[in-house]
């Protein structure tokens, strides 16, 4: 009965198809070829979180001290190494922030703010998911995030990555309605793309699963030096393609992983390699979103998708 009332969908329905060749050209400020942004996930995982029927926070019963302490390493030791490496290569961070961290560790927030880093929201805690929330409850989380980041940093949130990448079908609509400009939750493109929302304008910002150290280290289980290699290769290709139209490369990080002593140097070397190239825009999520609108790319991509849809429909009619 429940399944009939709330059937599963076969499609997200949040974006239209647009082939990679022959898209409208993206021109980045200063005619840079590639926008490179680094998104450290500065997170707080709870010691004794409540359960969510869809996802249990820890594999072991609370307290899962090994996993909890492994995450906590990032906030005691890892973030400093990560930040030093980014400072040396001239990168500001766009912080994917569990906003409760403003309360727990204001010292980390201050160090980021002092460097002009952007804060975007990664929910309240990484152990609180939006699964099974109703829409008003999820709106309360968005309000909390806006208020907390404003209070502690003076910044107005522009970006969003759902906590632990948990989402509901309405999530994108209520983010746009609240004034969020970009989401990092979708991985379907190497360029920013408009998202279909009920109100406002929302951009899907290229984030990345495969450059993300949590995927690299905890899922793919690659070595630190190989991580350095794939960052460089990903950059080389997108840099080359940036001759034709502006590209985006994101490196999502977790200080508890990349900030380990045996991993930091390979990462540091890779981002220094990136920074050593001409035509690289070392930027933030917010700045990319602003440039995407200011350059007309948002409207041009929307128009291109509509045209592609129309052509597709005509062809289907002929068939």
């Amino acid at each position: 009965m429940a399944a009939e009332a709330n059937p599963m969908r076969s499609d997200l329905g949040l974006y239209d198809y647009l082939p990679w060749p022959n898209r409208p050209k993206i021109v980045w400020p200063g005619n840079k070829k590639i926008a490179v942004w680094i998104a450290p996930n500065i997170e707080f995982y709870e010691y004794d979180p409540p359960n969510n029927p869809t996802r249990t926070p820890w594999a072991r019963p609370n307290p899962d001290v090994l996993q909890y302490s492994h995450r906590d390493y990032g906030n005691r030791a890892g973030w400093q190494r990560m930040m030093a490496a980014m400072d040396r290569a001239g990168f500001r961070g766009s912080v994917s922030l569990n906003v409760a961290l403003c309360d727990h560790h204001p010292e980390i927030i201050k160090a980021c703010a002092d460097r002009g880093w952007e804060f975007f929201s990664h929910g309240i805690y990484n152990t609180r998911y939006v699964y099974n929330l109703d829409i008003e409850q999820e709106r309360a989380i968005i309000r909390d995030a806006f208020e907390t980041v404003r209070k502690h940093t003076g910044q107005e949130l522009a970006g969003w990555l759902s906590p632990a990448l948990s989402n509901n079908f309405w999530t994108m609509d209520i983010l746009a309605e609240a004034g969020i400009q970009y989401t990092c939750d979708m991985f379907h493109d190497d360029q920013p793309m408009p998202v279909k929302v009920k109100s406002g304008k929302l951009i899907s910002m290229p984030y990345s699963l495969e450059m993300n150290d949590v995927i690299v280290y905890n899922t793919q289980k690659v070595t630190p030096r190989h991580y350095g290699e794939i960052i460089k290769r990903q950059f080389d290709q997108l840099y080359k393609e940036g001759d034709e139209s502006g590209t985006v490369m994101c490196i999502p990080l977790h200080p508890y992983l990349v900030g380990q002593p045996h991993r930091i140097d390979a990462f540091a070397e890779a981002i220094e390699y990136i920074a050593s190239h001409d035509g690289v825009w070392q930027t933030t999520g917010r700045e990319i979103a602003e440039a995407y609108h200011a350059s007309g790319a948002y409207d041009a991509m929307n128009a291109a998708m509509s045209a592609h849809n129309a052509a597709n429909a005509t062809e289907k009619g002929i068939r």
Partner: protein, 307 residues
């Protein structure tokens, strides 16, 4: 559908940690530690010595390395036991050759089953650390305080009686603890544990009966984790150990003494094809000036007297 209101309430959302065991602290802003002999790095080698019972329970979770084939699992029962019969003696021989004094984290039941093993470790000049009772007895909050206390007391009793050492160090099977574990450990005379993976230096944790020290132990360069969870090669393991050492060594010049931990397993690094990689890792570390090797308990004592 909706979640109960308290899913959006955050009772521990406050300055610092969301529990009372320890304060938040920034590794790079602490008063630098000067190891007593002027060393830059305290090298803490901890070899796990483990017994995986054939009938180990799978609830509430299995410790890593647990038997995984249908009962009776001849395959992994014997493979893990290989470490106790053969592998550990290769590790001991190499450590003796390098004149290293280290820690061995031993399941208490090993003292009952293989007292000769415990004697060999003691005669090698190493420290015995209690590694719980056996790998089937994981610590978790589903245990009553009495049940958990019995396991801890029994493990310590067996190891203390057999080794003649005080046995003040602790490593839980699977590094798993319940809410009460630090209190019960301290109550039983344990002064430090190796379970928490959140630091590169020792720090103090609160218990109901006084402080206990959390000693650093690397999680992701543990030989078993690299071999058995990441499926990376021995050469990759050595490279990561060297890289880890290099960064800690470099930091020690500016920020004071660091601890380089090297967690080993007798059934992993004690394999014939792996033990020479362990030699390579040790040779690399020991080729540097200012490396002080000591059992974890001595490093813990040095931390306490430095504070």
């Amino acid at each position: 559908m909706s979640m109960p209101d308290n899913y959006l309430e955050y009772p521990a959302r406050r300055y610092g940690m969301d529990h009372d065991r320890y304060e938040w602290s920034d590794l790079f802003k602490r008063k630098p530690i000067a190891w007593s002999n002027g060393a830059r790095i305290a090298l803490s080698i901890v070899t796990h010595v483990q017994h995986f019972p054939l009938d180990m329970p799978s609830k509430p979770f299995k410790a890593p390395g647990a038997l995984s084939m249908p009962y009776p699992d001849f395959r992994y029962y014997t493979n893990r036991d290989y470490g106790n019969r053969v592998g550990i003696y290769r590790v001991l021989r190499l450590l003796a050759e390098k004149q290293l004094k280290t820690s061995f984290a031993i399941n208490g039941i090993i003292a009952d089953r293989y007292p000769a093993l415990v004697q060999a470790v003691v005669e090698g000049g190493h420290e015995i650390v209690a590694h719980g009772l056996d790998m089937g007895k994981v610590h978790h909050s589903g245990l009553s305080e009495d049940e958990e206390n019995r396991i801890i007391a029994e493990a310590l009793r067996l190891l203390r009686e057999t080794s003649g050492q005080k046995v003040e160090g602790w490593l839980s099977p699977g590094r798993a603890q319940g809410f009460n574990t630090p209190d019960l450990l301290a109550k039983n005379g344990v002064t430090y544990s190796l379970d928490w993976a959140n630091d590169d230096l020792p720090y103090e944790m609160r218990t109901k009966v006084g402080p206990i020290v959390a000693m650093p132990m690397a999680y992701e360069t543990d030989d078993r984790v690299v071999a058995d969870e990441y499926f990376q090669s021995e050469a990759d393991w050595v490279q990561q150990v060297k890289d880890r050492f290099d960064v800690l060594y470099r930091e020690s010049a500016e920020y004071g003494g660091r601890v380089m931990s090297l967690p080993l397993h007798s059934w992993v690094s004690g394999m014939p094809y792996r033990v020479e990689y362990l030699r390579e890792a040790l040779d690399y570390i020991l080729s540097h000036e200012g490396v002080w090797n000591a059992p974890a308990g001595e490093i813990c004592a040095a931390f306490r007297s430095a504070g």
